[in-house]
Amino acid sequence: MFDVNEIRKDFPMIVNRPDLIYFDNGATTYKPQSVIDAIVGFYTGYTSNVERGDYETAAKADKAYDGTRKIIAKLIHAEPEEIAFNANITASLNQIAYGLSRMILKEGDVVLTTEAEHASNLLPWFRLQKDIGIKVEYIPVDRQGVCHIEDVKKAMHDKVKVVAMAHVTNVLGSVQPIKEIAAIAHENGAFMVVDGAQSVGHRIIDVKDMNIDFLGFSSHKMCGPDGVGVLYGKYKLLQQMEPVFMGGGMNARFYPDGNIILKDAPIKFEAGTPNIEGVIGLGAAAEYLMHLGMENIMAYEKDLRAYFAEKMLHLDNIDFYNPDNETGPITFNAKGVFAQDAAGFLGSRNICVRSGNHCAKILHDIIGTDQTIRASLYFYNTKEEVDRFVEAAKEISIENAIGIFF
């Protein structure tokens, strides 16, 4: 049923570059032919702007663009009018932080987050800390980056108005118990904001079941094109929220005296001509994923990661930081070798991984290092690739890392 060798044929990058082992899926993912076809189809068959479908191709563009809301709503179990498109998850999180700052947040209020967040879920809140005097507080996480319910309860108090965290953390792949945390947040009258960058497209996402208030994610991390993000919000909250950008397309009418009547959500969050090709491509990506089945994708990734983790645990030259997580990257270092040197060596063997300080505070405090290598999988990766990776990982040494320059 889930035949990875058949699936691999859908991806031109895999077909064209069979020499590469692409384990940098946490950064971005390959695109199936159907996504590329959808984008090319728009440019070659019905190029038009949206929201003014007075002629045939424009109506077709409208249908494809707006139709993507339905597809995305199905993927995350939301309603189509709860889906707004923007540039990426960073735009979503900035919109949420700004919107909440205009809606409810005031001096002394607290945004509760974790020690394992990506910069995009910290810096917008840090700015509010400086600008309006809110406070950012942290729920501690364990050595695998997981945040525990008891610690959430301990960290919760009257001043907490927002709980904002990643569903799956980007450095360690820890899966946070979002549903339970959202319940605690709501009991205390706080909103639940979720960064879905590393979870949507990898896991079954049900925003209703988790009962979260806001979710952001990026198209390019789930087989879709670059430059498209999704903002999900409960409809009544989106209606109350003020958009970051003002301009064309999002207003119903405006008057010389400065009075503006905005359109309803989600359109009011889409000022200016949107990334139409990108949204159409994202729709094709979500359809592709649902066709494979999110359950199947989840199960395959879990099995592949467990296989990978087991092999990595047996390598003497490797410090492996997150063996117990069931999803997300394999995060490691080669003993005594600086992460970028090791990644450069793997790169010379046609293995694509990411090295670096993954913008998360947790690394230093919890793992005890600032730099790591992140090998992140997707459903089109194989056990054969893992085997080839493990053979190369055995050879990581300073000598070999310098050797790539000669």
């Binding site: 600086f338 992460a339 970028q340 040197d341 450069g344 090295s355 670096g356 300080n357 913008c359 600032d370 730099q371 300073i398 000598e399 890392a401 310098i402 050797g403 790539i404 320059f405 000669f406």
Partner: protein, 153 residues
């Protein structure tokens, strides 16, 4: 002379040089001394984070020091830079730095003035590592230009 340049054409020797300078970097300790200028190089990438210090007096680089978290290429290239430019006049140093940047950009350069630093002659083939191979050199170039600026006052 010819034997030195032969050695510096041997990949094994060059690899050993990088290795030595990485494992036992020279001038690898910062000082707390107001007569030193200091540049913190941390904004170019989120990986390398080094500080380079130098004391420049009467147009001469009297001392160069550095420390920080960095990869083999950053550490070794900065270590070699510190050896090579220490004791040189500001003019000589600027000319050597230019030769080094020429090499890194795969342009014509004079290997003789670069001495051991020719070990980085192939870095241009790994575009993402050019920042690593130039981080310490850029810091030194910045301090030289700052020292020249302050001389004018």
């Amino acid at each position: 002379m010819s034997s030195t340049s032969e050695l510096l054409n041997n990949p094994e020797i060059l690899r050993e040089l990088i290795m030595d300078h990485y494992q036992y970097p020279h001038n690898h300790k910062l000082v707390e001394d107001d007569s030193y200028q200091s540049v913190h190089m941390a904004s170019d990438s989120c990986i390398d984070d080094i500080t380079v210090q130098s004391r420049i007096k009467d147009g001469k680089i009297e001392d160069i020091r550095f420390d920080g978290v960095a990869c083999t290429i950053s550490t070794a290239s900065t270590s070699m830079m510190s050896d090579l430019l220490k004791g040189k006049s500001v003019d000589e140093a600027s000319s050597i730095i230019n030769q080094y940047f020429n090499m890194i950009d795969a342009k014509e350069y004079d290997p003789d003035v670069l001495e051991e630093a020719v070990a980085f002659k192939n870095v241009y083939k790994q575009a993402n590592r050019i920042k690593c191979a130039t981080i310490g050199w850029k810091a030194m170039q910045q301090m030289i230009s700052e020292s020249e600026g302050s001389d004018e006052h």
